[in-house]
Symmetry: C2
Subunit: 293 residues, 2 copies
């Protein structure tokens, strides 16, 4: 598993490599504010763990793919926090980008981060030029059309939403992009790695719904109870918290089983176990199950 400091350096380098004396300083500050300090960095860690399992021969391209996925994730958070969406004042315990820099710089920082994700992959393609286009396509599908993050968010603007498609696009797509990108950047076919990303993405969204319904702003680093306040469809609202907890456990178990066999399968399963505990600490899970009994 790459060290957390190494991952932070990789992401910081992706920004530094595309900033110059001609870049407006407040835009640079807004971009850095959007990306640091980070959250759990689960998507890039997942991408790098898959690459390790695939025994990749191009660590530079793997690091670029991981950074690109995190930059896209950060871009989506900046835009999701805007007044016309979640109107969130806090993110990761700090003021959201539009609160700190204004709405215009928040929109532009998000736009620049999306472009930067693809620039980062392009710049690292030197050793494996034939991998660039398929890697780009997989990462882009996690973010845009036909059913990536932007599409997921756009389901909130439709009169009718199927909860599963909504979640699969809003959250699952970038997890599936992370596992597939880890394989592709390593020169390995991505298909066997998609189910792992799909299951983790689904589990992550269920956890997010549970955390929003049960958590406090202090624990989450952002406002709690926003789904209910914004009238958004959630798993917790659809099937109830009591059934959401076992669903989360089941999805995480399915993710464990979706890890393809190989040298580093154990390390990947450990990552999934750590995430399970980080997302919904056992104490909270027990409390939820007890109160529902």
């Amino acid at each position: 598993m790459p060290s957390s400091a190494c991952l932070e350096r990789t992401i910081a380098k992706a920004i530094d490599a595309h900033v110059s004396a001609d870049t407006p300083p407040r835009l640079v500050a807004a971009i850095r504010h959007a990306v640091f300090p980070g959250g759990a960095r689960v998507r890039p860690r997942l991408c790098m763990a898959v690459a390790r399992a695939c025994d990749g021969d191009d660590p530079e391209l793997v690091a670029a793919a991981a950074a690109a996925i995190e930059l896209l994730h950060c871009a989506s958070l900046v835009h999701d926090d805007l007044p016309c969406f979640d109107d969130a004042a806090l993110r990761r315990g700090h003021p959201s980008v539009h609160r700190a820099f204004g709405e215009r710089l928040a929109i532009l920082a998000g736009d620049a981060l999306i472009v930067l994700a693809f620039q980062t992959i392009a710049q690292a393609g030197g050793h494996s030029p034939r991998r660039v286009a398929p890697l780009l396509a997989v990462v882009a599908a996690g973010a845009g059309l036909p059913a990536g993050m932007a599409a997921g968010q756009a389901w909130e603007c439709e009169p009718q939403v199927a909860l599963r498609e909504y979640h699969r696009a809003k959250t699952g797509a970038l997890f599936a992009a992370a596992t597939q990108a880890g394989a592709l950047a390593s020169g390995v076919g991505p298909a066997p790695w998609k189910p792992l990303g799909d299951r983790l993405g689904e589990a992550y969204q269920v956890a997010d719904d549970i955390r929003d319904a049960c958590g406090s702003a202090q624990w989450l680093g952002k406002p709690a109870h926003r789904d209910a306040a914004l009238g958004r469809p959630t798993i917790a609202a659809e099937i109830g918290l009591a059934d959401a907890m076992p669903l989360f456990d089941r999805l995480m178990a399915e993710a464990q089983r979706a890890v393809p066999p190989g040298r580093c399968a154990d390390a990947l399963r450990e990552l999934i176990r750590d995430e399970t505990e980080r997302l919904i600490p056992r104490a909270l899970a027990d409390e939820l199950l007890l109160s529902a009994a």
Copy 2:
């Protein structure tokens, strides 16, 4: 010169190729509204004209590069029109995207269009995989960091702005990307083609300032006199309309001279002549010069 109908089909195909039954229908409608009917499509036409002059061997990649540049341009218009920027109700004679679909879908359509630009290039890279990364880097630099469109727009959020850097990033960068992309997609070194894009971009911004100061909403297809209303730095405000007209003429003449010699140089110079007349019709130019005399 590719026919205008052919270019429209290329851009439409880029969207269709990335829409599926899983894409939210209103997002797709907002994206199509942002892209059709188009404006003059000057950037993709320029890209394709340069490719023709370079005698390119990969028309599919050229078409993808041209479409990508137009998609990025459309994305920037959608975000620029938002209430926190220009708050424009009209674009190309129709309601702006946020007026027609709401602010949330306008932000998401812009995001999805940025991603789509890179997806379009990735998808067309099959015949010339080694060209994908450099082509992507050049196109991205026109849109994002360090000094592309998003950076140009962000200069409006700085306390101090140098007009030339502001315009070079806001408008010039995507023109320079268009000429360089036309060369790169054709397997030709991009450097000799940059000055042509730089000059055209600069001339285009001067024309835009003149048109905004002199034009009517009916002629422009969008509100006039917005620069003054928004207190934005413009050439017309800085040096006056009387001096802006000869500057535009001079930049267009420099663009003519910046066309590298070759088989299709005449066709490119004709494109520049047509653009000169389209941007500032001779009658308006004469009137301006006369009233300033």
